[in-house]
Symmetry: C2
Subunit: 130 residues, 2 copies
């Protein structure tokens, strides 16, 4: 297990995700202050480009440099504000989800053993966890 590479790939994914969140934030602000520009940015951003945050910003600089600068500023602000909370949220989130999966699985096999009912066809995602 190459943990160093996993950490690198994870932070790259997170940077792209925060860029997407910065775009959403700017879109939401513009829809109040400048609806035509919001519409333009929405159309520009609904391509697949936004999957790669850096490529997206490079092409935005060629079209609307003010918006590109603004998205850079917003994503820098977002990361300053939330980064320190993420590790604990992710650690706790995984531990909680793992506990839930193990308990759910235990309950399911216990139920299957104690009754003679055939295995339910209900998929486990029907338990209302979303």
């Amino acid at each position: 297990m190459d943990l160093k590479q996993i950490a690198k790939d994870t932070s790259k994914t997170m940077i792209s995700y925060l860029t997407y969140q910065a775009v959403r934030t700017v879109l939401s602000q513009l829809s109040e202050t400048n609806p035509p520009l919001a519409l333009w940015l929405h159309r520009f951003s609904s391509t697949e480009k936004i999957q790669d945050g850096e490529a997206y910003i490079r092409s935005l600089f060629l079209e609307q440099q003010e918006l590109a600068f603004r998205i850079l500023t917003v994503r820098e602000h977002i990361v300053q504000e939330i980064a320190e909370f993420i590790p604990e949220m992710v650690r706790t989130g995984i531990q909680q989800a793992n506990t839930d999966h193990r308990r759910y699985h235990l309950e399911r096999i216990t139920q299957m053993g104690s009754s003679s009912l055939p295995q339910s066809d209900h998929p486990p995602d029907s338990e209302g966890k979303n």
Copy 2:
């Protein structure tokens, strides 16, 4: 800007991404120790299910509980090992990328102003930054 919601969404995205990394790790281990099972897991995982880590694990529990347990263990291990390094990597990554974008843009507009050349058709992602 709802920073609390952004933090929540970001950690959810990161949990799904680490689940994907755990699946990749288990796949890589199995390809050494149990190629037929690796092939089975590869086929099971190449659906769209893996986009939602929790739904993926729930359906894996119904098919191959040992593998599901193993992926839970691996993702818990990964998060314990890398979580603390992520904030600094992401912060630095964004600052560095922002600096690069601003410098590249400045160089581009300076060049456009000082020469009478028409604007280059080269897309900015051709600068070899990947």
